[in-house]
Symmetry: C2
Subunit: 266 residues, 2 copies
């Protein structure tokens, strides 16, 4: 370590705190700590704006010289977010995103089904696998003013770096619930929500659905669509027309089409 005017700059990749931050790239450490990474100025800025619980800020001052970077740093200081300073080398060992030399360790804001208030638009996704697709869906959820996502069964980790990046910060504006389909089915009847599922078997087009909130939109996996158990909890099924030769849409595209329909209904 060498001492700077601002304090101590960690120069060892093997420093215990650095190792703990770097470990959050992996699901195991995210599970055991309940934290995740906000990599880069855009995500840290969104974490600050939305009042996310920031456990630690990792700063590389050599990389953090832009006006926006210094502004965000100032706001973090005001909020008295704990901070460590690291060298360019150490920073690069933690993250590929060196933009503005800023990285946040943020607490996961997961809630449970019973915490959900009966209002607004939610989307429930079954077994979504590909992190960029989940991130893109979160981004569309933010754009239409949705409340959050319900991830059922074997879904990818919403707090994985690739998901968080693709969400462009929407992870901070959306509530997140992880549950099993059986839990969802038990919760739904008294929840106050209608559930509208998307299925190629539906008789009406997605443009004809009733999206009066509170509403949960339900999407099946890209591979299998909605299964029997999902269909049983849906109040209405809608389909997205397909006029071509491919047999399905990208799941983030399909979700976004239905999410945007809910704006028409408002």
């Amino acid at each position: 370590m060498r001492v700077k005017a601002q304090g101590v700059v960690i120069v060892s990749r093997q420093n215990e705190r650095v190792k703990a931050v770097r470990a959050l790239q992996e699901r195991k450490a995210r599970q055991s700590t309940g934290c995740f990474l906000a990599e880069g100025i855009g995500l840290v800025g969104m974490a600050v704006q939305t009042g996310a619980a920031i456990d630690l800020v990792v700063v590389c001052e050599e990389l953090c010289q832009s006006e926006f970077g210094l502004k965000v740093l100032g706001e973090l200081e005001q909020r008295e977010a704990p901070r460590i300073d690291v060298s360019v080398d150490v920073f690069g060992s933690i993250t590929d995103d060196r933009s503005h030399g800023l990285l946040g360790v943020v607490r996961q804001h997961e809630i449970t089904l019973k915490d959900i208030r009966a209002e607004g638009v939610w989307i429930a996704l079954d077994a979504i696998q590909y992190p960029p697709n989940l991130g893109t869906i979160l981004r569309t959820c933010d754009a239409i003013g949705a409340r959050g996502v319900i991830l059922m069964d074997a879904s990818t980790d919403p707090f994985a770096p690739a998901t968080v990046k693709a969400s462009r910060g929407a992870i901070f504006t959306q509530q997140v619930v992880r549950c099993r389909l059986e839990e969802f089915a038990r919760w739904k009847p008294a929840s106050g929500f209608r559930v509208v599922g998307t299925s190629l078997e539906a008789k009406i087009a997605y443009t004809q659905g009733n999206y009066t909130s509170p509403v949960v939109l339900m999407m099946g996996s890209e591979r299998y669509g909605l299964q029997e158990g999902h269909l049983a909890v849906c109040d209405e099924l809608v389909k997205i027309p397909m006029l071509g030769r491919c047999d399905s849409l990208n799941v983030a595209v399909a979700a976004s089409l239905v999410l945007y329909e809910t704006i028409r209904a408002r």
Copy 2:
């Protein structure tokens, strides 16, 4: 090489034909040959169905034993598509997608602006960079029965493996034009097409646009949106409402929302 009942099986990764096929993973070889790769049974099957010009089929019989695989192989034989057989090791040196042991070398079907007939729906994309986004847009184009994509300026290669895979075969149902904005601007007035651009500056919502065909939808880059030169060729501008904190949608989502609006207009 070792001899099988069906003929010769290439077992050397350094075989000249194998090297030529493998090189198509890179843009340079795709440019010099005018060919691209259809990796896996799904893409080869779509190439066959759509009557794409298949220059060569690479088969690994050990991996190609499913009913669908054998059916596609039969169709390729009827079409007398040139074929080489390779070992599992050689096949794996060409492609990561070992599904069904089938791979096609297909001729790029690019056309020019003057080849475009004045009908249907097209989408023009400015400087689209991320191959999975372009592939996803092609997939939505297929789903709504569009005619093709016009890629302007520094766009990613529509025949890159990542684009072709994400298109799920839609690359074979969509026409492809690459041009510069200036060429587009010169072509447009006598083309018979209306051009509807998507811009946050637009005064009307995308749900109010006039998508009567022949129509070209125009999308700017995710980073900069439509620039002055693009706006000058648009007959109408529409915007997609954004109610959240993020400042943009994923470009494939934005494109898909507008593409699906054209179905409503039909």
